[in-house]
Every structure is written in structure tokens, then in C-alpha cells.
Symmetry: C2
Subunit: 207 residues, 2 copies
DNA sequence: TAGATTGTTAATCGATTAACAATC
DNA sequence: TAGATTGTTAATCGATTAACAATC
């Protein structure tokens, strides 16, 4: 699509643009200025972000809302289904299993794994918990493309290695470590400890 | 402490430095170069980050590990306890209630709220679920400083308004919206939808 | 003292935004 | 055509990093 490197910070902004578009009815077109008002981002930034992926706008009119929505869906890859595997069915894992938000965007958790014998074989949200030793084979058989890691810190790196070896190229990691992965793999860390420490810093300062 | 404005990106890096320090034994001192190796950050950046808060190092020796750990704990505000209130005791909320990581860092969830009559009055992880109508009063009575919001998107802004009105100055929001708050309040959004869309983007491109 | 490493300045890099010619 | 808004260039801003004098 484009030759210039796309800064990765652009991607979440596209998601926000899309959300704003969902709520903007009443007109067929929207200008970068209007979208800026709705999202809080700068209008020039919005135009620039979009041109990384093509020329979607019409001078003097703006962007056709329906078209732009489709374009963004397509860019983000949320116009199709993705197979997700969940590793670790503790409290957090169970919450993620039942999180409707994933399925709504086409991310379907089709397999779940744990090493706790009391959990293996149980069915949660229609997904049977498998022994973690079956991870590698199942990933291949079911064409799992995204891994969600919700295991304790101590086990996370090994789980991630196994996922990658089995062919997973995108991982959402909730364990509070920074796993080592090759740059062929997209790894996103959601680290609650780090976030609450940010809050504490602010509270300590803010008075 | 310092007059220059501290870029907020520095704060999570401090958390990572601290984690690395926890694991570095064998010597009393550590150089910025060694810490850089351990964390993957640049040594100059580490030194610069630290000098926002003071001059902790000794030329030719490095940083005294124990001292630096204490300093960072103090800067982050994790050397003390914080009272946390959780709003929304669904799957995610329950997972957060039982997440040991919070308590380990001094963040204690002392109250939980929901509007579901079937949940109100129940005890989870030693915390009784209260009616959300009691939120405001309980926040004041128990001196709740941090709010965690794990309610559906539709309810989030109102819950956040109530928290702020009652005196909460730091909020961790899991609802997939960007709430409007005054700049007196620190708001961190953890938005799973946005994150999985980042993964999908990568998968779509990466081949 | 000589050697090592800090704290800090200055250069570099990359992202944001203002400005405007091109275009509908 | 005149007016509006895009796409894009150039200026600005802020964060990262290399370099080095100061210091133990």
C-alpha cells in the first residue's frame, strides 16, 4: 500500500477514528476537522495518518463516512475472523474468555490451555480447557494466529516460546515480564503493575 | 524535587529499572551501562531519567543498588499503601479482585461495587460487594484514593464522574471508551479492543 | 594519579502540527 | 467561478542518544 514506514502509534489512532465514525450519523461526509473535534486529535494528524494508507478524501467535501469505515476495518484487519488461543485459565484468563468484546471484533478464542489438572477437561464459555502439553499441536491444527498469555510470570517466557515455535505471530501478554521475542513476532504487553505504579506516582506528586 | 517537567513516559521506565534491580545481586553497585543491558534501554536515557529526581549515582562506581531501589520505590509511591475501590464485579472485576499483583505493590482493593442485586452483599476475596449507590459515601469514609472501573462502556462515564466527585484522583479504566476528565485527575485507559486491533493490523501486514 | 562512570550538553531523530498549493 | 477541504511540505516540538567535562 505505502512505501513509507508507518509509525506504530498510528494504528491505535485508527481504532479511535473508527469508533468516532460509528457514532457520526446525519451526514454522508465528515471532514478531518469534524473528526478532530470528535476524537480530540489534531486534524492535520488525522489527514496524515490516513494518507499512510491511501487518498481517501475528497477536497472540499471530506471523507465519505461509510467508505472510510470500511477502509479502516480493512486496514486494521477487523473485517475478518482471527483464531485466538488462550493460555492460562485462572481468574484473568476466565475473564478474558467471557469478554464479549473480543468476539465482537472477530477475535474468537477457540482454544484454552492450562496445566492445572482440576481445570483440564472442563468447559468454560463453550471452550474446553486442554492440557498445555497439547498447545503446540492444537495451534497448528486449528490455525491459531493470536495467543493470549495469562499465566504467572514464571511460566510466561516458556509459554511464549512454545506459541511462537508452533507458528503464532501475534501475542497479547498479561504476565508482568518483558518477554524476549524475535522481531517477526508482534508482542503487546499489558502490565497492570506498571499501570498502577503510574497512578501512584501521580497521587504522590499531585499534592 | 525538580523544576523541569518530567515526561510521563519516564515513569513506567522507572518501574522497569526497579524490576531489574530486584534481580541484580552479587554486587553493591550497578552502572547505567549494566542496567541498560538488563532492561534494554539506553544507558544515557537511564541516567537522564534518574536525574529528573536527583543525583543518585557516584562517578566511577555507579548506583548503589539498595539505595536506588528505595529511591525508585519512593518516587513511584509504592513504598506505602493505597486504598483502591473497584466498580463493576463482573468477570473482569472479579479477576482484578483476586489479582495478587495489586496487593503486593501496596494497592489494596478495600471496597467493591456493583448494581446487580444478585452480587450485592456477596463476599469476594474478603471484600463485600456494595450497592453502587453507596459508592460516593464509601469513597469518602474509607479514603479511597484510586478507582478501578470495570463496568460496561455505557455506564463508565457516569461511574467515573461519581468517583471524581467523591474525591478520587486516579482512575484505571477498563471500559472501551475515552472518558472526559479534568486534568486534575489521572486517568489510565486499558482498552483491550484497541490492543487486539493492533495485533490484527500486524498479522494482516506481516505476510 | 589513572580509570571509570556520572550528570549534562548538544546533536539527532521522529512525531506533531501549521501552512498552503492542489483539487473538487 | 468561489469556497472548502484535502494531501503534503516545512516548521516545530519533544524525546532519545552520543559525547564529554566533572568527579569520585
Amino acid at each position: 500500500m505505502s512505501r513509507k514506514k508507518i509509525p506504530s502509534i498510528v494504528i491505535p489512532r485508527l481504532s479511535f477514528y473508527y469508533r468516532a465514525l460509528l457514532e457520526s450519523r446525519g451526514s454522508d461526509f465528515i471532514s478531518s476537522e469534524e473528526l478532530a473535534k470528535l476524537t480530540g486529535f489534531n486534524a492535520a494528524q488525522i489527514r496524515k495518518d490516513l494518507t499512510y494508507f491511501g487518498q481517501f478524501g475528497i477536497p472540499s467535501k471530506g471523507y465519505k463516512i461509510e467508505d472510510l469505515k470500511q477502509k479502516i476495518l480493512n486496514i486494521l484487519g477487523t473485517d475478518r475472523k482471527w483464531n485466538v488461543g488462550l493460555v492460562g485459565v485462572g481468574n484473568l484468563g476466565s475473564a478474558l474468555l467471557s469478554y464479549r468484546g473480543f468476539a465482537k471484533q472477530g477475535f474468537e478464542i477457540i482454544s484454552a490451555f492450562d496445566n492445572d489438572l482440576r481445570k483440564i477437561g472442563k468447559k468454560l464459555e463453550g471452550v474446553e480447557v486442554q492440557d498445555i502439553s497439547e498447545l503446540s499441536q492444537t495451534v497448528k491444527e486449528k490455525n491459531i494466529q493470536i495467543g493470549i498469555v495469562a499465566v504467572p510470570a514464571i511460566a510466561a517466557q516458556e509459554v511464549i516460546n512454545t506459541l511462537i515455535k508452533a507458528g503464532v505471530r501475534a501475542i497479547l501478554n498479561f504476565a508482568p515480564i518483558r518477554p524476549q521475542v524475535s522481531n517477526k513476532v508482534e508482542l503487546l504487553n499489558i502490565d497492570l503493575s506498571i499501570e498502577v505504579e503510574r497512578l501512584a506516582f501521580f497521587l504522590r506528586r499531585g499534592r
